[in-house]
């Protein structure tokens, strides 16, 4: 217990000796962890939103009125036989007219002008895997009953690809800042070890174990790392809570992310920062304490 209090006392003494470096280290860890936390949360939010779409219509095949309804029926049956297709729903011209009227009910001028005869009947397809929409396009290529094909899969894919790019870029940036934090921790520890050179020499002569000599430095790195990450995670939670009631949530996305995922992310980041601190301290004092 007395040994432990010695370690804690010395950890705090070390940190007080170089306050600016300690502050810079905490900020670097904070920014890095915040970037990782927010981008991974954003990725999860986008996935949750697109998941909702995945239960909707993925491909709409507009039918050509110039071919017979038998050809339309054959097309519907062939679509239903494809393994990647979950359901196919026939949407008649009159249903298309009703849908149009509902969608544009706020624009009576437009509704008055439109010739509803041009609205085609269609087949609305729900796929087992929305990313298979290209297979459907290929299968229907050249089919005379098909007038036009539209997919929502493309939009989903674009959005997911955009968020993937966001995650990769933010992670690369977080890695760079994390590396800066790593260098800062190493420098802070080396300065602390240098300033305590005589004390360390005496401890060695007395018979203190290497682990015991290293502990204050290890604790320092771990504490700085954990403080930075804890603040970052706290900010991250606050940003998500704020966003739930923000204009973004009302206009673009539901900020739909589970607490379980956030807790998992928080614990993972804290665990990572613990390992990060241990590793940085190992590298930082290895040479300084072996002299």
């Amino acid at each position: 217990m007395n040994k432990f209090s010695y370690v804690i006392k010395n950890t705090l003494l070390n940190m007080r000796r170089t306050p600016l470096l300690v502050f810079a280290t905490i900020i670097a860890v904070l920014v890095s962890s915040f970037l990782v936390f927010t981008t991974l949360s954003a990725r999860s939010i986008v996935e949750n939103n697109t998941l909702r779409w995945q239960n909707g219509v993925h491909v709409v095949v507009f039918l050509d009125d110039r071919v017979t309804t038998t050809a339309h029926k054959q097309l519907e049956e062939s679509l239903e036989s494809y393994p990647e297709v979950r359901t196919v729903e026939y949407f008649s011209k009159s249903e298309a007219e009703e849908e149009f009227k509902t969608l544009f009910r706020d624009q009576p001028e437009l509704l008055a002008e439109v010739d509803y005869e041009i609205l085609p009947s269609s087949l609305r397809i729900n796929l087992n895997d929305p990313s298979d929409y290209t297979l459907i396009i290929n299968r229907l290529d050249g089919n005379p009953a098909v007038k036009e094909i539209r997919t929502s899969g493309e939009a989903i894919e674009r959005l997911l690809s955009l968020t993937d790019t966001l995650v990769i870029s933010a992670s690369a940036f977080a890695f760079l800042i994390g590396f800066a934090a790593f260098i800062l921790i190493i420098n802070t520890l080396r300065l602390a070890a240098y300033s305590k050179k005589k004390e360390i020499k005496i401890m060695r002569l007395i018979g203190a174990s290497s682990t015991y000599i290293r502990l204050p430095f290890i604790f320092e790195a771990v504490i700085e790392s954990l403080i930075g990450t804890s603040i970052a995670v706290g900010f991250g939670w606050a940003v998500i809570e704020y966003s739930k009631n923000s204009i973004v949530a009302e206009s673009i996305f539901d900020i739909n992310i589970s607490d379980d995922y956030l807790i998992f992310l928080t614990l993972s980041l804290l665990m990572f920062s613990l390992v990060f601190g241990l590793f940085a301290s190992f590298v930082g004092i290895r040479k300084a304490l072996n002299d």
Binding site: K198, K201, R204, A208
Partner: protein, 227 residues
């Protein structure tokens, strides 16, 4: 008991610090290690507490086989040895009492034990009046006595002193040697490296003389003839 059998120490680059020496020092002995600068006195002592690792030979200190001792067990060896260096190596931000207590704190002693032991050691080295003085306020002899008290804090069975009187005038040197003899009389084996012939010749103790890393003389009630 301290025993060295055919011990050599060769540094990287080939310079020979210790060359095939063998000797034995019994428990409770007081031994002067003499020789001119560079004769191997410090290397001899550093081999005993494994600051240097012998290139060949066998070393045993306080029933520990130093030659085969793995690096992680060196602290266990040093807990049985007190080490006093020529520079007292005191912590400037701690007073006399705290410098002595430091050794006990590091080894995890309880606060009440630290206080009692520190007071006993202050008595032993006769520094009670200087207990709250900082190293900058102490004379050379007083600083060396603090360093000796700190080395004794964990009840070592062997005390290794590497030229503790090197920076002191003759009177202070005699005081330090008297203190070391007092410690020796209490049962601690003392090995003191010195090149001060006036001290060695006056005290009539065992003398081991080193020259170019070899033992050239080993005499009970010996003397040190400066060549």
């Amino acid at each position: 008991m301290i025993s060295l059998k055919n011990v050599s120490l060769v540094f990287q680059g080939g310079s020979v610090a210790i060359s095939n020496i063998s000797t034995q020092i019994e428990d409770g002995e007081f031994v002067y290690l003499v020789g001119h600068s560079g004769s191997g006195k410090s290397s001899f002592l550093k081999l005993l507490y494994k600051e240097y690792i012998a290139t060949k030979g066998e070393i045993e200190v306080a029933n520990i086989d130093v030659s085969k001792l793995p690096k992680w067990k060196i602290p266990l060896l040093r807990r049985k040895i007190g080490i006093v260096t020529q520079e007292p190596q005191l912590l400037e931000n701690r007073n006399t009492s705290e410098n002595i207590a430091f050794a006990l704190e590091v080894m995890g002693s309880l606060p009440e034990e630290i206080e009692a032991k520190t007071n006993t050691l202050l008595d032993l080295v006769e520094l009670n009046e200087n207990a709250y003085k900082y190293p900058g306020q102490l004379s050379g002899g007083e600083a060396t006595r603090v360093s000796i008290a700190r080395a004794l804090a964990n009840n070592p069975v062997v005390l290794l002193c590497d030229e503790p009187t090197g920076n002191l005038d003759p009177d202070l040197s005699i005081q330090i040697v008297s203190l070391l003899e007092k410690i020796n009389r209490a049962g601690t084996t003392v090995i003191m490296a010195t090149h001060d012939s006036s001290i060695v010749n006056r005290r009539k103790k065992r003398v081991i003389e080193l020259n170019e890393g070899k033992i050239t003389r080993d005499e009970l009630d010996g003397s040190y003839i400066v060549r």
